[in-house]
Symmetry: C2
Subunit: 219 residues, 2 copies
Amino acid sequence: MSRNKYPEQTLEKILDVSTKLFIEKGYEQTSIQDILNSLSLSKGGLYHHFKSKEEILEAVMQRRAQYIADMLEELIKSVKAENAKEKLKKILYHLSTDARTHMLNSVLTSQVSNPYFVVGGLKTVVNMDAQIIGRLIEEGVKEGSLQIEQPVLCAEIFLLLLNFWINPALFGRNYEETEKRLNYLQSILCTLGLDIVDKAFIDNVMSGYKKMGAFEEGV
Amino acid sequence: MSRNKYPEQTLEKILDVSTKLFIEKGYEQTSIQDILNSLSLSKGGLYHHFKSKEEILEAVMQRRAQYIADMLEELIKSVKAENAKEKLKKILYHLSTDARTHMLNSVLTSQVSNPYFVVGGLKTVVNMDAQIIGRLIEEGVKEGSLQIEQPVLCAEIFLLLLNFWINPALFGRNYEETEKRLNYLQSILCTLGLDIVDKAFIDNVMSGYKKMGAFEEGV
């Protein structure tokens, strides 16, 4: 890559290559020089966009967070359902089968040993994604399809538990231990008035983790 | 520190100094040389115990986790109460006022920008602390003071939410936003059959965070 004729394309390429390297080699083990080598870019070309490796990591996580938020917003707009509760169930089911989500989950699961990604994910799930899902729950409360006291806080807890507590790779759990927690999550969500997780969703989540090789064996 | 006459003392000193440096400077910014300088220890003296900085971090977090687990076990043995539910309430109240917990929480809060500590904490809270509290809830279920379907899983969710979801420094929240979440946590725990969080506990947790300067201002 020679001169900086298309700065936005350069930016995207830096983020693509950095994401790939952070996942394959790990963040600590990736140097600025590794990123430059993979791009055939000069130091000046990179420093035009980023002052440090920390800034690149921040931008990589920011872009990933925005991608997920956009996907959720798009699903809320495009999915058709009789009410907000049914829409939420359809969206969850869609996410549990969608190739893009599967790819994103694979990245998260491959990155459980990278604490930067885990903590970055924790923050965006609670501070971004749960706000979007919370607004859909709020709609359900207004129209009467859902009875939830605090829609946004309930969404925060739901997504935090689903994305982190349930993750077998993060806590070193086997198939049975993970399934037990998903079933309990379903049961407590029901008790709280958020009856949106069903057997088909649980099966999809479990087979997704299985494909990724996320389970500990013989624990 | 000269020759290695008292290897266990040396080990403890390495961990003390490393903890202090990791907190003050951050893990990334602390070098093995910084640790050696603070101890007047030779490289050989340190490599006798640890092969890398990662191994030191692992041992620092392991020691902290064991300290908290021991404290919980000790409280379960020493606190007197009419039943397991009352004992759990007393232990929570004690933890919310105790100087040791306050110190540990200050460390956690000062370390929210250090993802190694956050993820390490996440794992030990769920895989160690919740198992201990879960056994106490199990006792309560046996004797009839508590009605909980899955004592250990319920303890995992409770401690995960209390230690992480509630933490204002981790998610950049102000006083009101944090208090709202603590009140909601109390309400959902009640719904789940774990009526153990009261106003006094919430007030203690809030004033603890205030003393640490954990709240975002003017959000």
